[in-house]
Point group: C2
Chain length 374, copies 2
């Protein structure tokens, strides 16, 4: 293998593929990046056996071939090179890196030992606006927590029906749902559960890119593919296994009727909950009192060792006076996922689930359970 590439292009590519590389004591080949020189393209691949990333860089290929070298090491080293053209060459499983004033050899591994990354050829796919999808995914991706007993809720639930894509996440204390419109309706309804890690990698790697994202899927795998601007060729592919099992019937949990409807300034609400949280002690409890007469929302927290906190915010309120306690983390997480300047806060009676959602955007809903009073 021999190729010429600009330092900046190689560095950017390595920054992407090194993200899923950890320190694998039992399978050290996974610490590496597979560099492959194909017609006109240099491809970089990495995998942790659950998630794989492959990306292509358009560059000058002198000789086709493959080399496998430590990913994080190569990335740190390339970052220090001057911003010029680099020549990469494979000789007896070593990678020779040469550029202005530098000559280096990096010890590599046998490319045959590198795990195969599944390919999705001639399969059906769906298309979605990439930025809209990544922004929606970012609003729900942090909700799941690793669950040994209920692996199905440790991932992100995708549902495609007609021209709507729903993505859902929960940790059983709160739940978020985001709706994204597809350009074309799907032929038949489809759903699957994607693990949290590849979902995060999609946001990290593709989050800022303008264009269409292709979503491929088979019975137990999925692939997210973003195309190259300059050529009719994929630029990045993120492949993942799917989580087996059935996602709970989450729609039952979303309340339809409320006792009190509040519209409140998002930043001020978030800030006052954060301040109260400092006083909330071990169980993270902050008390929210909706006061329709005073047209304000009051926030309380106290803990004998620390002290007491009381604050208030003017708000538009419809319905009855109500008091409920929440884990402050669950409220701040929800508010952080909402970007509008005002939020809707709907409370149900008898300690039922409450809702946070942006004003002027019906595509997102965040459901949170109050703390039961003892």
């Amino acid at each position: 293998m021999k190729a010429e590439i600009l330092k900046e292009n190689l560095k950017n590519g390595l920054n992407v593929v090194e993200k899923i590389v950890g320190k694998n004591l039992s399978l050290p080949i996974l610490d590496n990046v597979l560099i492959s020189a194909e017609d006109n393209f240099l491809s970089l691949s990495s995998t942790d056996l659950e998630t794989a990333i492959k990306l292509w860089i358009l560059t000058k290929i002198i000789k086709k071939g493959k080399v496998v070298v430590p990913a994080k090491f190569l990335s740190s080293f390339i970052a220090l090179l001057p911003n010029e053209k680099i020549v990469l060459e494979e000789k007896s499983q070593g990678l020779y890196v040469e550029c202005k004033s530098f000559k280096n050899k990096i010890q590599g591994f046998n490319p045959e030992e590198f795990p195969l990354i599944p390919e999705f050829k001639n399969l059906e796919f769906l298309e979605v606006d990439n930025k809209k999808f990544c922004q929606g995914l970012a609003q729900i991706v942090d909700l799941p927590s690793p669950s040994q007993s209920r692996p199905e809720i440790s991932g992100i639930y995708f549902i495609f029906s007609k021209n709507i894509m729903k993505i859902v996440a929960t940790d059983s204390f709160r739940l978020a749902e985001k709706n994204i419109t597809l350009d074309e309706a799907v032929k038949k309804d489809i759903s699957f559960i994607l693990p949290q890690k590849p979902a995060r990698e999609i946001i990290n790697t593709l989050g800022e890119k303008e264009g269409k994202l292709k979503i491929y899927f088979s019975a137990n795998q999925t692939m997210f593919e973003f195309p190259m601007k300059e050529a009719d060729h994929p630029q990045v592919q993120i492949t993942s296994r799917l989580i087996e099992g059935e996602y709970p019937n989450y729609e039952e949990i979303i309340p339809k009727k409320f006792k009190t409807h509040v519209v409140i300034k998002r930043d001020e609400f978030l800030n006052q909950i954060k301040a109260a949280s400092l006083f909330s002690g071990r169980i993270n409890e902050v008390k929210i009192k909706i006061n329709p007469a005073g047209k304000e929302v009051e926030i309380f927290a106290e803990s004998p060792d620390i002290g007491e906190s009381m604050s208030s915010i003017p708000a538009k309120i419809e319905g009855e006076s109500i008091e409920a306690s929440f884990n402050h983390k669950f409220l701040t997480d929800g508010l952080l996922n909402i970007r509008s300047s005002e939020v809707i806060f709907d409370l149900s009676k008898e300690e039922g689930p409450c809702i946070l959602k942006p004003v002027g955007d019906a595509s997102y809903i965040y459901v949170v359970m109050p703390i039961k009073s003892t």
Copy 2:
């Protein structure tokens, strides 16, 4: 105690004093800040029993008095308040904090239990340009490493003689000396050893301030005092105990004669050493070869598992061809402490100490020992 203060001023003050506050399980009073309302000033103090910081904020005092509350907690809480006027009031050892839409009580401690911070009244002091001093101190402060067996070299050595202040630091592998000119000559020569922690706090707290720094000292204590701009009153005082013992006769170590004199571009030299360091393996060894015929400096590193690195930089060279090996960390530390675009690199024969210093600034010298060849 009762006082009115702008949120921003209180927050900035707390950010300074909270820095030396840790988590003291054996003496929890040290986790606190002492807030004292004096005539026209609110003072904040913290101490870890070795270093103490006290600062004053000019503000409206309604009632004099003291309160002691958790420093990091108060700082996190004040940061979340809106940018307005805050009323602080002490009632039965609790601090009541009130501002627009917030009412809070923070549980405090008995101010009598807070350690006394030594005062330096009517004592002699020296004056030095603050920014010049802090910049010089920053060039040497990271050299010492904690030493149980030789506590005297774990600190920064200060020597005042005539109108020169020398500050020196070493970890026995390398040594740095900085000379700073005083406005007035000292009446008699003085020297002391300051621990590393207060030296770092001086840089963190005062580093950016324009003005004169006063240095007070007694047999076993020292105090660095920076004045207020608006009033004839101290703004910040950093007090520290001194380290006992005699500093080694370090001047003997600084070589006077060299075999080879090199002038080289600082950024490129630093960058190539960093790149080579990745290939240097366990003992951190990089080899430097001075090549007067080729008018270049060559840098090598290798390690069987990782690979090999070779790079070169054009340089102005006087003297003989020479080869020496260094711990790359010791070279990069020295280069990072030098800000000039070109550095002087002087090498002695027979693995003697070498020198790095800025071109055009005789006030700083960094001495480094090569690795003995085996």
